[in-house]
């Protein structure tokens, strides 16, 4: 199996390298045969990488500890569910997994586009497979997961198979951790497709509507999955790490946020290009930036250049990534400069109060946020290079910069969609914004009376209400019009309205999801916590909850031993729930970890951690957090995901447009054939 896996990677690398050359030549010489051959090589790349992944999964599932990777990241008593996840638990496996996902995206991008985007395809294949060749050579030469263990002795080296493996890192043994890395990676990797289309469009000078339309869809999919990955990561941190929060501005977390932010900027500014033919250069820059940040994020996560709680070993892959990143920048920026003449804007900005300028502000703020987060994350490296001292910055820096910018963005989430293209009159401003402003103002006053004194939290909640009224108002207005003109009932009208323009109304649902997310964020301001040593019968109070310890029990499972605290909770004097936080000791990895007990409700989570045993008294050290509104973060994230899915469904208008384009394309092809023959 080790041989088969290595064979898969070698063959994959060969196919990728061939596809780069054949694709570039095929495009240059306009040879359909070479292009077709490059496309087939890219599909073969996918088959070969799949073979390698199957080989590694087979080794993991059959407990073949002769393989060094399996011995380090799995053990016999690990649940099968988690064994599958061992594929992406370590450096080598992760990179193989990354490359495999790239091959899937490449195959899909080729199969779905080779008819529609004939002229772009040879270069799209070349760029995709260039990235594929880089990653497969990393897997082959630097981080090979198919190494075999051997013992060195006086008689020479002998194959060695340990009786059991080191086991999967216990903090990774949690259900959302199993899907978090695949989603995140699908997000990172997918950004290569828009990049490939952008480069192909620049090379071929086909910078019309076609590439931007294709790119928009291919950005939405990875953007959606990246967002979901970030959310699952937060969920994992919240449920497993036991510090009561879901986001800590850790370098690795930041790395995943960066391409999401620049991707968000692109998904908005692309609309200005489609509608008004503006910002063409800017959009190419955003596509390049997003791809660069994706690779950069992978590099930051995998190389250990910035110290992080995501404890990955220092490794040798850093320089390779640095070279690859340089190649990306030099190649894409040079190409962009050579094609500047073809990217002239067709229109000018008419007014500062218009949809266009709303999108522009959105872009500036998002990019400023990218810059601030990047600056804070890389500051240890910057200060080292400039002053030769390493200086790190922590959460206060990120919070203080991100909160005001986030609030501005939140405002635009509601205000932007209500602004008209080109120029918005004062009359329409008044008509559209009067109601949301009044509702938000009244709610704000109520919140003040109810005792909300935290400025940012108050501001966030007011803006959330403002945005919600703005966006729901759009649904209401649209549905009302349909009810009158098409004589539909409200539900029908709402459904037809949404399905007729899924892009627009899917987008609005995404905006509502963002509102829910911010409501969840506002809850952070009202967090309370308590800590105490608890023996049998001891009490601990946190806010209006009273915890009583009913003792400690210990137990054993094949994979870990545990100590469990039995805690009964009363709320305002009434029986509430029982909670059982655990301290687990994983046998294979010889590591302890906490198992947090969470009682989630829509208004607040009760979060109980058994953080240890007091050495002197033998009592349990219990930490309690009361975290308001956390549930809305998960719900909001889910709504964003569903809204994006909806926006990806072709709307009725779009389908009609596609029909028209298809007939045009056929006409063009007939023309081509005519002139060719």
């Amino acid at each position: 199996m080790n041989e088969l896996g290595s064979l898969g990677i070698v063959a994959g690398l060969a196919f990728a390298a061939y596809a780069v050359v054949a694709g570039a030549l095929g495009g240059k010489l306009r040879s359909l045969r070479l292009t077709r051959s490059a496309e087939r090589a890219a599909l073969a790349f996918f088959v070969m990488l799949t073979l390698a992944v199957i080989a590694l999964e087979y080794l993991i599932l059959t407990n073949d500890f002769h393989n060094a990777y399996v011995a380090e990241h799995s053990n016999r008593d690990l649940l099968t569910f988690y064994k599958v996840a061992a594929l992406w638990a370590g450096q080598e496996g992760s990179l193989l997994f990354w490359t495999w996902l790239l091959s899937i995206y490449s195959a899909l991008a080729i199969l779905l586009n080779r008819k529609k985007n004939r002229q772009l395809m040879p270069y799209v294949v070349a760029v995709l497979m260039g990235t594929g060749a880089f990653f497969s050579s990393l897997v082959l030469f630097v981080a090979n997961p198919f190494q075999e263990l051997a013992l060195a002795s006086a008689a020479g080296t002998q194959p060695f198979t340990p009786p059991d493996g080191n086991g999967l890192n216990p903090v990774l043994q949690y259900h959302s951790m199993v899907i978090h890395p695949p989603m995140l990676y699908l997000g990172y990797v997918g950004m290569v497709v828009p990049f490939a289309f952008a480069m192909a469009a620049l090379i071929t000078r086909q910078l019309g509507d076609n590439w931007i339309r294709t790119t928009r869809r291919w950005t939405m999919v990875p953007w959606m999955l990246l967002g979901l990955g970030i959310l699952l990561g937060g969920n994992w941190a919240y449920a497993v790490l036991g510090w009561g929060g879901y986001w800590g501005w850790d370098p690795v977390e930041n790395a995943s946020l960066l391409p999401w932010l620049s991707g968000t900027a692109f998904l908005h500014s692309v609309m200005i290009q489609e509608k008004r033919g503006m910002l063409k250069v800017w959009n190419v820059v955003l596509v390049i930036t997003t791809f660069f940040l994706s690779i950069f994020g992978t590099f930051l996560t995998r190389s250990g250049v910035v110290s992080s709680v995501h404890a990955f070993a220092q490794s040798s892959i850093g320089p390779f990534f640095a070279v690859f990143l340089c190649i990306i920048v030099v190649f894409s920026v040079t190409l962009l400069f050579l094609r500047l003449d073809h990217l002239k804007s067709e229109n000018k900005l008419d007014s500062l109060v218009s949809r266009e300028s709303g999108f522009l502000f959105n872009n500036w703020i998002l990019l400023a946020l990218v810059f601030a987060v990047l600056w804070g994350t890389l500051f240890p490296l910057i200060s080292k290079a400039v002053e030769n001292v390493t200086v790190t910055v922590g959460a206060p820096f990120f919070n203080k910069t991100a909160i005001p910018m986030g609030l501005l963005l939140l405002f635009l989430t509601g205000a932007g969609p209500l602004l008209a293209w080109r120029k918005t009159s004062f009359q329409s401003l008044k008509r559209n914004f009067l109601l949301p402003l009044i509702v938000a103002g009244v709610s704000g006053a109520f919140l003040l009376i109810a005792g909300v004194r935290h400025f940012y939290a108050w501001m966030t909640l007011c803006l959330c209400i403002f945005v919600a009224v703005c966006v729901l108002g759009e649904f209401w207005k649209g549905a009302r019009t349909r009810m009158k003109t098409a004589r539909e009932n409200f539900a029908q009208a709402l459904y037809n309205l949404t399905m007729r323009n899924t892009r627009r109304y899917g987008g609005y649902i995404v905006h509502l999801g963002i509102v829910l997310l911010f409501i969840g964020f506002a809850g952070l301001a009202f967090k309370t916590q308590a800590k105490g040593s608890m023996g049998q019968g001891d009490l601990l109070r946190a806010k209006n909850y009273l915890l009583r310890c009913d003792g400690l029990v210990s137990g054993d499972t094949p994979n870990y031993e545990y100590t469990r605290a039995l805690i009964t909770v009363t709320k305002d004097g009434h029986a509430f729930t029982a909670m059982h936080p655990e301290k687990r000791f994983y046998k294979a990895s010889q590591q302890p970890t906490s198992y947090v007990s969470i009682h989630p409700t829509l208004s607040e989570d009760l979060y109980v951690v058994l953080s240890g045993l007091d050495q002197d008294t033998g009592k349990a050290v219990i930490e309690v957090f009361v975290n308001p509104l956390v549930m809305w973060v998960w719900i909001g994230g889910l709504v964003v995901f569903l809204g994006t899915l909806l926006a990806l469904v072709p709307s009725r208008v779009e389908r009609e447009m596609a029909e028209i384009r298809k007939t045009q394309d056929i006409a063009v092809q007939v023309d081509d054939l005519g002139s060719g023959g």
């Binding site: 011995a71 075999e148 013992l151 080296t157 200086v391 910055v393 206060p396 910069t401 005001p404 590591q591």
Partner: protein, 143 residues
């Protein structure tokens, strides 16, 4: 038109100033210098808001009357550390673990740690899985 642009410019200016000021204050508040153990032992002077990385010296961890002390070692030098923070120590903190500590270094030569992060050193490296020699020698499969 010109008047509006001016107002707009002022608005953007105010926003930029607020965000900028917040950024600078947050930056100063959380700025932490990364220093090495030998830098501290050589200079022998008090330093505030610093971060030191190293290994928890095996056998040095002592818990007495709710107080935790240990020695943090880096390249054959080590400093005594007292934990004064309130957060519960991470599960990975134990003898031989790699730790990053944040806090103040006193002129007495003691480090008062407010925050301790730790990762288990053995986990991500090749652990001694061989019972015989305790060494392993990964070899690329024959291709």
């Amino acid at each position: 038109m010109k008047n509006r642009r001016l107002k707009f410019g002022i608005g953007v200016g105010i926003i930029l100033a607020v965000v900028g000021w917040e950024a600078v204050s947050g930056f100063n508040q959380s700025k932490t210098y990364y220093v090495t153990v030998s830098e501290l032992t050589q200079a022998q002077e008090a330093r505030r808001q610093i971060r030191v990385g190293g290994t928890v010296e095996p056998g040095s961890v002592q818990r007495r009357a709710g107080k935790l002390t240990f020695r943090l070692a880096q390249d054959a030098k080590s400093i005594p550390v007292t934990y004064v923070g309130t957060d519960t120590l991470p599960d990975t903190f134990k003898d031989g673990a790699q730790a990053i500590i944040d806090g103040n270094y006193l002129s007495s030569g003691e480090f008062q740690a407010e925050k301790i992060q730790a990762k288990c050193a053995s986990k991500y490296q090749a652990a001694p899985v061989s019972p015989a020699s305790g060494q392993k020698n990964p070899k690329v499969a024959g291709l």
